[in-house]
């Protein structure tokens, strides 16, 4: 019976059948870092174990713990203030607190170095105006400095998720607690906060993931985390395999986090309740003047420190450049590179994701849905791991091609793949496929399956389903993913730094190079362009998430 049906179908999308392969690409870097253990450079490892690894681990752990404490504190307290109290500017800050997201951590870090280093703005000002020369001025280039910079850029993960939890669960349960005789303060501690735990935890895990994969900030601030170790082994000892082995350790930790995170998400599902009826109007704490004042000062201070001050300083630095033409001329080609790369990555990932999702709908099956889930994992891979994982096989392949070609003619054509645009695009593709995949995947899940059956019973074949149903219905999710990918490519740093072909600097790489030489003013232009373009998706895609609870407020 199925055989005859198959014959009748006029047009079958055969190529689509293999779309799931895109999702399996993530296995390439993964298997590379795992297989790297087949060949261990004992000499180098002895050196690493004796002199480096202990310290790297210690620094990474302290970096992570400190940042988690800070982001947890900032994220939860801000979310609580916005959700439960009333203070001047609450409405604005509820979404404006997401703006620091626009500043990549390494930009945040360099602005603070510029402001607080011994020769920086603030100490110089103190010296000149008050004769205050703090010899023991705490250096920003330190572990606490890294906590500061990373926390100011990443607390938003905790804030956003916790705020959502407070809006959807916390307010309501606070009402119940109050009708059972609890004061708002008691109710917050006994109910709203414990209820928000899965969300706070998920936010903290995302922060941890970012901290572990960060390279720019720690490199600039002189903190030796594991990513710095990977770079050092690669560039210092030229041992790609040892770098890959270090990367595999990092990957292990990251995947443990991914597993934990998905566990928490399952917990969230039990905690979620239909928020029917009014979600509680306005603030739940009848704010006293003291609370109102404290909430206002605290929230506005964090906002100022995390966004206004660094952004203002960047703009100031940018404006103080002597020669605008020169500054523009030097940043323009880099911007163009970035946009070309970002655009290519966005279009490629979007198309691949569309085909994968369409294929999954048409044929279903465990293989395809696991490929989809695998593909989304690429986002969790730290840039340094990806770079190592993509670079290594390409080098091997290049060597093969080279020896093959050398047999035919002199020179053998050099390295064809390594250090080309294609290698880098492959890296971007693996990393950012998750973005369109998630947006299309959830859009597709919301379409009823019966719809496909209806179309088939009306005589449409696979091609028709894709063309007349999936494309028009999923187009929007696809378009939304484009700017998100572009901005993420713009902000991506370690992988681009390691893999870019000559002449293909992106904004982020340029910022990193300039800042590592202490050229703050020159770094300001690319940093401003980068940050301002990152504001756009924040405003359009993240802001609505904070408005949900405000509709009744």
């Amino acid at each position: 019976m199925p055989a005859t049906v198959e014959k009748k179908v006029p047009f079958k999308l055969r190529p689509l059948k293999y779309a799931f392969v895109f999702g399996l690409l993530v296995l390439l870097p993964l298997s590379v870092v795992i297989l790297s253990w087949l060949q261990v450079d004992t000499e180098l490892w002895r050196h690493l174990l004796e002199h480096q690894l202990g310290f790297l681990t210690l620094q990474t752990v302290s970096l992570a713990v400190g940042t988690l404490i800070w982001t947890g504190f900032l994220g939860v307290s801000l979310a609580a203030l916005v959700a439960f109290t009333e203070f001047p500017g609450r409405r604005f800050l509820s979404w404006a607190l997401l703006l620091p997201f626009a500043l990549p951590a390494y930009v945040q870090a360099f602005v603070w170095v510029d402001l607080l280093d011994y020769s920086g703005l603030v100490p110089t000002f103190l010296r000149q105006s008050f004769g205050l020369d703090l010899v023991s001025w705490p250096s920003v280039r330190s572990l606490p400095g890294a906590w500061w910079a990373l926390s100011l850029s990443f607390f938003i993960y905790v804030y956003l998720l916790t705020l959502g939890a407070f809006y959807s669960q916390g307010r309501r349960s606070l009402e119940v607690a109050r009708s059972l005789g609890y004061s708002p303060w008691q109710g917050f501690w006994r109910v709203s906060l414990p209820l928000a735990k899965p969300w706070v935890g998920a936010g903290l895990l995302l922060v941890l993931m970012e901290v572990l994969s960060d390279y720019g900030t720690v490199a600039l601030l002189g903190v030796d985390s594991l990513t710095v170790g990977i770079f050092r082994v690669w560039y210092g000892h030229f041992s790609l395999s040892t770098a890959a082995q270090l990367a595999s350790l990092l990957t292990l930790v990251v995947f443990a986090i991914v597993v934990l995170e998905s566990r928490l998400r399952q917990r969230q599902r039990f905690y979620e309740q239909k928020a029917s009826g009014l979600a509680g109007s306005g603030a739940q704490f009848r704010s006293t003047r003291g609370l109102r004042l404290a909430a206002m000062i605290f929230s506005w201070t964090v906002f100022a420190l995390a966004f206004v001050l660094p952004m203002g300083r960047l703009l100031w630095l940018g404006a103080s450049v002597q020669d605008y033409h020169y500054a523009w001329a030097s940043v323009f080609p880099v911007l163009l590179n970035t946009l070309v790369l970002g655009g290519l990555a966005a279009v490629l990932t979007a198309l691949a994701a569309f085909f994968m999702v369409a294929d999954l709908r048409l044929r279903g099956g465990g293989l395809r849905s696991s490929a989809l889930r695998l593909g989304a994992l690429g986002y969790a891979l730290p840039g340094a791991v990806l770079a190592v994982g993509v670079f290594t096989p390409l080098v091997l392949l290049d060597k093969q091609i080279h020896s093959l070609l050398s047999g035919w003619f002199e020179g053998g054509g050099g390295l064809l793949l390594t250090g080309t645009l294609w290698a880098m695009l492959l890296g971007y593709f693996i990393r950012f496929l998750a973005i369109p995949l998630l947006s299309l995947g959830s859009a597709s899940q919301n379409l009823p399956g019966r719809m496909d059956e209806a179309a088939r019973s009306l005589g449409e074949a696979e091609g028709g389903l894709v063309r007349r149903l999936y494309w028009p219905l999923l187009k929007k999710g696809l378009l939304i993913s484009l700017p998100l990918v572009v901005v993420d490519v713009m902000k991506e740093m370690p992988m681009t730094l390691m893999m870019r072909p000559t002449g293909w600097d992106t904004l982020s790489v340029r910022i990193f190079q300039l800042t590592s030489e202490g050229l703050w003013a020159e770094a300001a232009w690319p940093a401003v362009i980068l940050s301002l373009s990152a504001v756009v998706p924040i405003y359009f895609f993240l802001r609505p998430l904070t408005r949900v609870g405000l509709r009744y407020g």
């Binding site: 349960s173 009402e175 109050r178 009708s179 609890y182 009826g277």
Partner: protein, 372 residues
């Protein structure tokens, strides 16, 4: 200070309650409560019936203390819990008790159980002052009354069925012994069969524990079955508050009459009847009805339900002849369709015994109509 309580102290007394919502962004205000009055006596079940958006949930939330009304007073158990600004401006209220001090329990529409606590901890959540053994005792008591078997106590809310969740929500609200229990659309999340079952159980339970309760619903059947006192709420006002049968039989407003079941509105004019004594009657297209006018020569409306026509197959005094256009068997009654003689509207009457005649005679009976 229970003002206006008549003899017996009321368990809940709401007077002239007004509330506006401040619309988002632009400073417009939308009135949701436009002067609401209601009174419940100890042990009574009150029900607010009305379409969604009529303000009934806001009223409930104001009583619980989650909304702060602009004006009016609320007394619970003779104690003032809210006294609005008396000066008339939009100032601060003279008195408003925090929700946790009102001793008003609430069962939410979606139950709002605490997902991170097991059933036992959910129920004992409001019993902080009791010792563990006293709490245990209370859980036992409530669980027995609500038929929550002990093997459920250690489970978590998401492991329970909808009906069980509702029992837990009820137990949790009753545990601290509130002076008043509020229920927001308590059965809307249950399937119809379970709804009827829970309804009876809830009523028995509340009566057995002598709980004063106010609940809101948009389901008429539910309202009639559960309530001692019923209020029909529309557009921020309670149109009528009283016994359920009063609302049905003696509606004070046409809207009330029309809300409870179908019926026809007839135009009527007041006429003085020619007789020895000065009397008046109403003239409609279905004849005359005696009337004691409060104001003379006013155009009135007469409301008649399809089962309340006075009719006969033979002619009678004051009866109007109509042709039966169609008849439909409806099980408990037969529905006869006809055109009204003057306005030519399609009307019908419902009769248990029906009629096979082509023509019948119709009139209005004084005791079965409502005049507005």
């Amino acid at each position: 200070m229970a003002k206006g309580a008549s003899g017996q102290a009321s368990a809940l007394h709401v007077q002239e309650l007004r509330h506006c919502y401040k619309a988002e962004g632009h400073g417009k205000t939308v009135p949701v409560l436009k002067g609401v009055d209601l009174e419940l006596f100890p042990g009574e079940l009150g029900c607010l019936l009305g379409p969604s958006g009529c303000g009934k949930t806001t009223l409930l939330r104001s009583i619980a203390g989650f909304e702060q009304p602009d004006a009016g007073t609320i007394h619970v158990g003779g104690r003032a819990v809210f006294v609005g600004d008396q000066t008339g401006g939009h100032g601060r209220p003279e008195l408003t008790l925090e929700p946790e001090l009102r001793r008003v329990g609430m069962v939410f529409q979606d139950y709002a159980l605490f997902p991170h606590l097991n059933i036992q901890d959910n129920i004992t959540f409001g019993l902080r002052s009791l010792s563990p053994s006293q709490r245990q005792q209370k859980v036992k008591e409530l669980a027995e009354a609500l038929r929550l078997s002990p093997d459920l106590w250690q489970r978590f809310p998401h492991e329970l069925s909808g009906g069980q969740q509702q029992r837990v929500a009820l137990a949790r609200a009753l545990a601290p012994g509130p002076q008043l229990l509020l229920l927001d659309e308590p059965f809307s999340n249950l399937d119809p069969r379970l709804r009827a079952e829970m309804r009876g159980e809830l009523k028995d339970m509340l009566k057995a524990w002598a709980v004063t309760a106010l609940f809101v619903t948009h389901d008429q059947e539910e309202a009639f079955e559960l309530s001692d006192k019923l209020g029909l709420m529309q557009d921020g006002k309670i149109l009528q508050w009283g016994l359920p049968e009063e609302l049905y039989r003696q509606p004070k407003a046409l809207e009330v009459a029309q809300f409870f079941g179908e019926g026809f509105v007839l135009d009527a004019q007041v006429e003085a009847s020619n007789g020895p004594t000065q009397s008046y009657q109403l003239c409609t297209e279905f004849g005359y009805v005696p009337h004691r006018p409060s104001e003379e020569s006013r155009d009135l409306k007469v409301f008649v339900r399809p089962e309340n026509w006075r009719w006969s197959e033979t002619e009678f005094v004051g009866g109007v002849k109509v042709e039966i256009l169609d008849r439909r068997f409806r099980g408990a009654f037969e529905r006869l369709y006809f055109l009204s003689p003057q306005s030519q509207r399609l009307m019908y009457l419902d009769s248990p015994k029906g009629s096979a005649q082509k023509r019948i005679y119709l009139g209005l009976s004084e005791e079965w109509i409502n005049i507005f």
